[in-house]
């Protein structure tokens, strides 16, 4: 995935709470066995009218927000279904950073492994950013120093260490874990003695049946 160190760009605000992943990418727009090319599906039910034409009133259809790098939203952003394509749709559209007072937990982990930075800030700070965007609709983020800069202020945020490293390096988490395979093997060897009923259940069921 594409690493993130610094980002600068247009920020759109969508100040609704509980924006669920069914809205971020409706199910019918994710029905392909791929991991790219989801930009059309982003907020499809809100961005497009029933006849398929873009809804001129929706923020991401209005310049300069059709070119947004940041999205600012209400609490519990990305709640609902676990679909990773919700993050891919944001990323494919060009949104690399979402700012909200809280996130759905599966969505947040999906962001960390897909090159989208979720920034959690207290609700009053999110409101202050929205006010700042009225002055200039751009934001800057620096993941090294964990700071977000608006027209008027600098905000600091927190990202767990491992997630931060993954986003900064763009490294594939599987290879990182496979380096620990000896540890995993040791764990399973001990665990098989301690909890034998957890293992080989299909084989045992077939023998018993």
């Amino acid at each position: 995935m594409e690493p993130i160190t610094q980002l600068e760009g247009v920020a759109a605000s969508l100040m609704i709470n509980d924006v669920d992943t069914d809205q971020i990418i409706p199910g019918k727009d994710l029905m392909k066995v791929e991991k790219t090319g989801f930009e059309k599906g982003l907020f499809a039910n809100w961005r497009f009218l029933p006849d398929g034409a873009p809804d001129p009133d929706f923020i991401l259809n209005k310049p300069p927000f059709n070119d947004a790098t940041f999205l600012v939203s209400g609490s519990n952003f990305g709640c609902g279904s676990s679909r990773a394509s919700a993050v891919w749709a944001l990323r494919d559209f060009g949104i690399r950073c979402v700012v909200a007072s809280s996130f759905g937990s599966i969505f947040q982990s999906n962001c960390h492994v897909s090159g989208v930075l979720p920034v959690v800030l207290p609700e009053d700070q999110v409101q202050a950013i929205v006010a700042d965007l009225a002055i200039a609709p751009r934001l800057q983020v620096d993941l090294e120093s964990c700071t977000l800069v608006s027209a008027r202020r600098t905000y600091t945020f927190y990202v767990p260490k491992l997630a931060r490293e993954m986003l900064l390096s763009g490294k594939d988490p599987i290879s990182v874990t496979l380096n620990r395979d000896a540890l995993i093997r040791d764990f399973q060897d001990v665990d098989r003695q301690r909890r034998p009923w957890v293992y080989d259940i299909v084989e045992k069921a077939e023998q018993g049946a």
Binding site: D22, M31, N45, C79, S102, V113, A205, A209
Partner: protein
Amino acid sequence: MGLTFFEKVWNDHVIEDVGDGNFLIHIDRNFMHELSGAVSLKAIDEAGFDVRNPELTFGVVEHAIDTHPGRKRTSSAPGGNDFLREFYERIRHRPIRFFDYDDRQQGIVHVIAPELGIALPGETFVCGDSHTCTVGGIGAFAWGIGSTDGEHVLATQTLVITKPKTMRVDFQGRLAAGVFAKDMILGLIGKYGAGGGVGYAIEYAGETIESLPMDGRLTLCNMAVEFGGRTGMVAPDQITFDYLNGRPFAPAGEDWLRAVAYWRLLRSDRDARYDKELELDCNRLAPQVTWGTSPSHVIGVDDVVPDAAESPEGVARASHARALEYVGLEPGTRLLGEKIQGVFIGSCTNSRLDDLREAASVLRGRKIADGLMALCVPGSTTVKRAAEQEGLDRVFKEAGFEWREAGCSLCASGAIGGEAFPPGSRTLSTTNRNFENRQGRGVRSHLASPATVAASAVAGRIADAREYY
């Protein structure tokens, strides 16, 4: 200080503390369905990774698969067939237990994993589906993951996750006749909000839980994700052991005795401390029905739809107003008596045998309202068979319901562009999500228990299930 149930399960799975609150943990069970599973298997194949522990990995078709009687390996959703084919081609040659559309044990992951004894107390259990937390009802630490994490589990049998905080929800009192587990969880979400559980592993406990049958516990845990929780769990007890004993993949013989001895030790210690404690009084709980587009938009069936002015000023109020507009309800009106065009009994929330019995006891000898679209879709082929042995299928059919093969059906298909309720219709479902367009374009979904849905189907309007019990 003692440990909570969750902490004991957690501790037994930590492989390594990787710092900053993150841990590498072992995954005991990895379940795949045709949507997220197809993507994950394709990705690891292309990256050249193996499935590390196929014997701990399971696959099933449920989301996109057709549920019409006599179905084949096909889907009504555009693109659905691609997922089914891709998944089938990538799983069938592997030593992974795969429940295909015609398998006697096929069904929704969250229904079959406990009923077959694949999900066990004290296990870590993941699937690329947010309602994986359902399986917490059996006492597993179960949660939904994205397909990228799914690849990680396939290749390493582990995940790196942040340790959640612990919460205990104390349910006290007895449920009135006509009030069920679905009403408990909706009531909880209504009281504390859809974000009430964010960051927590939630343990449901208390007097009401102690006598709650397994099917109800699974319903309760199913909607932990709608409460924002990482997972919901019920500590294993005699109800759990009795439920699991003799299930097809449950431990037997010496393994069973050792397992039960281990499971008994998992209960929270008396002096265990939780990061947060909440409570709900079940004595006064009415049947719950959602009015809006978030599961937290919920009221008692005889209450009135709240005005946006009752929500805190700001974003919450704007979201409230938007929801009212979408569902087309005036604040101050009663849900009771609101006309409906469709009903659905099914989904991983409420499609187990107890749920079907609960609905059938209302429908027996009655007919549903004219012109109503009504579907009953058992959660698994095992449930379907058991229901048919009791004659429940006849009760549903004679009342005017369609009786289907097991799967997600209208809970998923409307959202993925397949079979759906008519556009804009008002519907009552036993599912877990009343999001915009979830069951078809413009469809206004209300959520309730199987009893409430059955009673309302008879009336053709939202009805009070208590009048039927």
